[in-house]
Symmetry: C2
Subunit: 354 residues, 2 copies
């Protein structure tokens, strides 16, 4: 077969029509300097006419040697909760997928109980000068300091897990926390009678600053109020994440409130409460958050009845892919990607993808 020069496409066809070289076409496509206004206009018109879409394969192949580095800044996996395992896996999954486009991901971690560790890790991130950052913003003020520096340095960043609004992040990928508590309340409204009591349990070393939990609690109470449900709602805040402490506080509240029929734990620490419920033979419905091994164990046993899950692995995966779309592909990225609010029971968890 003789070479068919008849059907050109892409930059070549544009160049042919505009009677210029493909180099000039490339300059216009990327809005680089050094093209006369007339030539530029003509080429832009032709691009419009053809509805030209660049072939990403060609583009990526041609820029093959350019390494792009992203940084991630998330809590380390601790003995208190293995929650952050899933996001890390999501980051690695994204990394595997885009490695072939020469993207490297440098992972930085901080201790959820140490503000300082966040500040230090953030400094190291800045020193590395990545071309994009994924952040789980546990400490609001410190995060804002950090993202302000990113803005100065023109480094795009995405938030996962919880949002800090109005920080011009490229995207937020995670739960809508108010709605998450609201929806949990909806489920719970089916599980109790009007004369039965509810206990809300917040477990976190720094509850005052832990906006996650408070937003969820707000949503929870919002649903009950809006729907005029009159169940007695008690609540305890536990700031020492130790079983003995948790047991003490639960013992106290159970003594005071005899009608507690259901416990709602506002985060992944529900397994501590599960242990208590199991050891003390409490006949309660127990609902908590997150698909962790320790939680699934109690779910399978029937001690935890429902887990609300919001795909933390997917959040991180999508966060990296958003950076990739923005930085490499130069494609638009959704500003908010709210995760579904998933209801997990002992009979459907095996099909769940966290």
């Amino acid at each position: 077969m003789a070479k068919k020069k008849t059907i050109l496409s892409g930059v070549k066809e544009i160049a042919r029509r505009a009677k210029v070289s493909i180099g000039t076409v490339d300059r216009v496509i990327h809005d680089r300097n050094g093209v006369s206004p007339e030539t530029k206009k003509k080429i832009q018109r032709i691009i419009k006419e053809m509805d030209y879409q660049p072939n990403l394969l060609g583009r990526r192949l041609a820029t093959h040697n350019k390494v792009t580095t992203f940084a991630t800044l998330i809590p380390e996996i601790s003995s208190e909760t293995s929650f952050w395992e899933a996001p890390l896996l999501g980051i690695k999954r994204a990394e595997d997928e885009i490695r072939q486009y020469n993207v490297k991901i440098e992972k930085y971690f901080y201790d959820l109980n140490e503000k300082d560790s966040f500040v230090k890790a953030a400094k190291r991130v800045l020193r590395a000068k990545p071309e994009g950052v994924l952040i789980a913003p546990s400490f609001i003020d410190e995060t804002i300091d950090f993202t302000n520096r990113c803005k100065e340095l023109n480094i795009p960043y995405v938030f996962i897990d919880s949002d800090i609004p109005n920080q011009s992040s490229l995207s937020y990928i995670g739960p809508e926390l108010y709605r998450s508590g609201y929806s949990s309340a909806n489920l719970i409204s089916y599980l109790i009678r009007s004369d039965e009591g509810i206990l809300i349990v917040n477990i976190s070393k720094q509850i005052e600053t832990d906006h996650h939990l408070l937003r969820k609690e707000d949503g929870f109470r919002g649903f009950f109020k809006e729907n005029n449900l009159k169940n007695e709602i008690s609540k305890i805040d536990i700031t020492k994440v130790k079983y003995e402490e948790i047991k003490k506080q639960l013992d106290t509240i159970f003594l005071k409130k005899k009608n507690i029929r259901l416990i709602f734990v506002t985060n992944s620490r529900v397994s501590y409460v599960a242990r208590y419920v199991k050891e003390n033979h409490k006949n309660v419905i127990l609902i908590g958050y997150d698909f962790l091994d320790e939680n699934i164990k109690y779910l399978a046993e029937g001690v935890i009845n429902f887990l609300i899950c919001q795909k933390p692995g997917e959040q991180a995966y999508k966060g990296i892919m958003a950076l990739y779309r923005h930085v490499i592909l130069k494609l638009p990225v959704e500003e908010y990607m709210y995760m579904p609010i998933d209801v997990i029971m002992k009979t459907n968890y095996s099909f769940y993808r966290n």
Copy 2:
């Protein structure tokens, strides 16, 4: 900067080490004829040593002009149910994504109420000689006839929505139906007292052959039996998918069974029952399947309380991507991809991705 010939990679590096041309390397990689056994062995050894992974970008770019055609064979969207809208959207989403690799998708449809329409559409698919087929196998025997022909012609196929085991399909992507009913029963067990009755409603023109519904019903009953739940379970099969007929049968059963507190509709036709419940002011909990506009409307109103959803759009999307992975990328494909069993309420449906 002078050309760095120092660091070669990929086929070039293999060729350099083996002291052959890249053409010969290519022949070995694709197991084509015309390479002496010794050369072949040597090259294979080097490939192993280097842990060589082909660059898919380069590969796809080089084979850019080869058009691959897949066919899809699913029910058309009918006035009875808009269920098949989501899979069609999933197919289109996959098509958009792999269009740049020159994949075309030809879409064939059949009428769920007309076996013959399936047979005819299947014939047209075969005539088109696609390189892969996605099938929603509503009619078992007819599907087996069809897939047998595909096997003869070496055309790979995937099933979505419901499976026909042992038909050597490349993959099944859809619900595990027994487990789906089983899990629904688990949820329902929280919603009723032991003295309250349950009504199972199957709605389909051909219930005897509609393995979907029966498998779900089995799973449902299985849960109640295994957990020793004694609720009275009634059931009706409705084979005329018309509101008047459905109303008549529901009227009859409600007259006979005074303790019905919860209705479980085993497929997406739950909106018919919702209309009945609403118009007749029945005080029941209503649970059904699938994220359809007509169902969501009743969910938002509070007439339907829960919908079980299994991402039909995702099923079709993954089905096409499985064909793409197998046919184009020559990568392995999972034989079973079971969908999660999602619980949708009026408060979380807006975040759901079907």
